[in-house]
């Protein structure tokens, strides 16, 4: 081992806007590097939803004759599967927070001169990127399997906005859960309730109006129900039938904005909660 040369003076900088942005990018890059080292985090959340979109939906369409409406059932389930892939993707991403805490560099990050909220936001950026990739693959597979999509600029905007806000919401749920539980077993144990259960009530495989009235009412409280209705409004159902099932209005644009507001509200609330819970759990 050799001696270290005289340390040059490093100009210390108080955290400013540029420095904050740089720190956020650094944290996101770190998370992306770690994620890319575990390809299963990218592929595994996609398997189940992809099977739904390319095997189950076309088979059910043949067996049941589809939705008996102008909406193609393969593309209906193709979009509905997004309601599974995003939660699973975010739950996997949240698992990495637990790994960070138990065997990673979380304490080093907590000792860094960056706001602790950035640790959550850096992870969120990567979770969004990963979910975007998975959703794109899923919709692509559904289209290849024969799903009928009507892509317009406005439709893409509604789809992206709904998917993005729902991802933000789900990552907030995952991060909050990861900060609350101490063991990976507990976290994994909560996954069915958090990530899978809403999928069956939110109209992913059938319109929510097909359920008993009580369950339809409950479904309207789930952000996933609103997100799926918006995504279908954007890609496969310009008449907004799913939005009508939720709001019962005659103006589909108003219904779309209302649903977007609901998803946005959930997203903002869960992001705030996740930051608060993480920051509190990081300091004893």
């Amino acid at each position: 081992m050799s001696a270290i040369a005289e340390a040059p003076s490093i100009p210390l900088r108080a955290p400013g806007r540029t420095r904050s942005a740089s720190a956020l990018v650094t944290l996101a890059k770190r998370r992306a590097s770690l994620t890319s080292k575990t390809p299963r985090q990218i592929a595994v959340p996609l398997l189940g939803p992809a099977l739904l979109a390319v095997v189950v939906a076309p088979a059910l369409k043949v067996a049941t004759g589809g939705l008996h409406s102008h909406i193609d059932y393969t593309s209906f389930v193709g979009v509905g599967s997004v309601g599974l892939v995003i939660p699973l993707s975010c739950i996997f991403a949240g698992l990495s927070v637990l790994v960070d805490r138990h065997s990673g560099a979380q304490r080093e990050l907590l000792a860094a001169p960056v706001p602790r909220a950035y640790l959550v936001l850096g992870n969120l950026i990567v979770a969004i990127g990963l979910a975007t990739l998975q959703v794109a693959v899923l919709i692509g597979l559904s289209a290849i399997r024969g799903g009928a999509f009507h892509i317009t600029g406005a439709g893409v905007a509604w789809f992206v906005a709904a998917a993005l806000l729902f991802t933000v919401f789900m990552y907030g749920v995952a991060e909050t859960l990861a900060s609350k539980v101490t063991k990976q077993e507990d976290y994994v144990g909560a996954t069915p309730a958090v990530a899978i259960l809403p999928f069956f009530f939110a109209g992913a495989l059938f319109p929510i109006g097909a359920m008993p009235g009580v369950l339809t009412a409950i479904a309207k409280a789930f952000p996933l129900t609103h997100a799926l209705a918006l995504m279908r409004y954007g890609f496969i159902d310009p008449s907004g039938k799913g939005l009508h099932d939720i709001w019962g209005m005659h103006n589909v644009a108003v219904e779309a904005w209302l649903s977007l507001a609901v998803v946005a509200l959930y997203a903002v609330a869960l992001t705030a909660i996740s930051i608060r819970v993480f920051s509190r759990s990081a300091v004893s």
Binding site: A3, S9, L12, R13, G104, R107, L109
Partner: protein
């Protein structure tokens, strides 16, 4: 912004950030009436006070549970103080946590690294988060990697490193940002003796070369004796002694007599005190009696033992260590408590 560079190119001990930083002569670490009570009422730190001068190596000694890690946690802003204040380079850790963190780095007791990433990626992450300019970071990383002997391994995933290599990487990482205050929390715990000594050499080298304040916690007293300018012995959340190792040791004289008693060690100690050979700083732990001799010779003590017909064994004299200081102050063997 003043970086305080001097004309001879050496980094001065004190710098300031936008006029907010420490003034010349200000301690690098100031702790005043710092207290931490955890939920449930466990009082881990009971109102401690100490200051560490810029450039000083300061040791916090004590067994596990004494309050060392809680103190470090409060200084590094991962434990919220219940009351009292702590400042790093003039920045209050409670009200200016970002600034306090910007002037400090920590080497944690256990491995805190991204194992899937390379050693270099771990160092670069630290550099970017602490705002070290890229060009300077590259040069600094190269120097540090050479200094801790990791040049051959630095581009391998950290998960392939041994425990000692990982600890050296963490020390290098903490130094990338040239912190004004470096916290070493039990830096050698869990390492085998050879690696422990190797690592101590690295730390001693740093101490000699870098103008930084080091606050090290340990329950290895030989380590503290070797590294520290001053030590605080912490026991049950309170500082029971604070001075240089030399002064603390001088309090016990130049030589210590130690023996094992077959019978009551307290009675043996009382007899030695009655005959003026032992003072109040003599102590017994289990069957073992330790007597600082001060102005007496070992022969005086042996004469008392003979005349009192004490049945003793394993009689030995030796120079005092910090272990004796700790035992004298706390009445408990440190490694037993640990």
């Amino acid at each position: 912004m003043s970086t305080g560079d001097t004309t001879d190119g050496h980094r001065p001990v004190l710098r300031s950030i936008d006029g907010l930083g420490m003034d010349a002569g200000m301690p690098a670490v100031q702790v005043s009436q710092l207290r931490k009570t955890y939920p449930g009422g466990v009082e881990a730190v009971k109102g401690i006070d100490f200051e560490v001068a810029a450039g000083e190596v300061f040791g916090l000694l004590g067994p596990n549970g004494a309050g060392k890690s809680t103190t470090i946690g409060m200084l590094t802003t991962t434990v919220r103080p219940t009351s009292g204040t702590a400042r790093l380079a003039g920045y209050d850790v409670a009200t200016q946590p970002l600034l306090a963190r910007s002037v400090s780095s920590v080497v944690f007791q256990d491995a805190v690294v991204d194992g899937a990433l390379s050693g270099r990626a771990n160092l670069e992450l630290h550099a970017r988060l602490w705002g070290v300019p890229a060009a300077r970071a590259g040069q600094r990383i190269k120097e540090l990697v050479d200094a801790v002997g990791l040049s051959e391994l630095i581009d391998r995933p950290v998960s392939s490193y041994s425990g000692g290599q990982r600890r050296r990487l963490e020390i290098a990482r903490a130094l990338v940002s040239t912190p004004r205050v470096l916290f070493l929390d039990e830096p050698t715990v869990g390492l085998d003796p050879r690696i422990r000594h190797e690592l101590l050499d690295v730390i001693v080298g740093l101490r000699n070369r870098e103008d930084m304040t080091i606050l090290v916690t340990t329950h290895y007293l030989d380590e503290a004796q070797r590294l520290c300018d001053r030590v605080a012995i912490i026991h049950e959340g309170q500082i029971v002694a604070l001075d240089s190792p030399q002064v603390l040791l001088a309090g016990l004289g130049r030589e210590i007599l130690e023996f094992r008693v077959d019978g009551s060690p307290q009675a043996a100690l009382a007899a030695l005190r009655e005959r003026g050979v032992a003072r109040d700083d003599g102590f017994a732990v289990g069957a073992r009696v330790t007597v600082p001799l001060h102005e007496h010779a070992a022969a005086d003590a042996l004469a008392v033992i003979d005349s009192e017909r004490l049945r003793v064994s394993e009689i030995a004299t030796r120079v005092p260590t910090l272990d004796d200081v700790y035992l004298e102050l706390t009445g408990a063997r440190m490694d037993e408590a640990a």
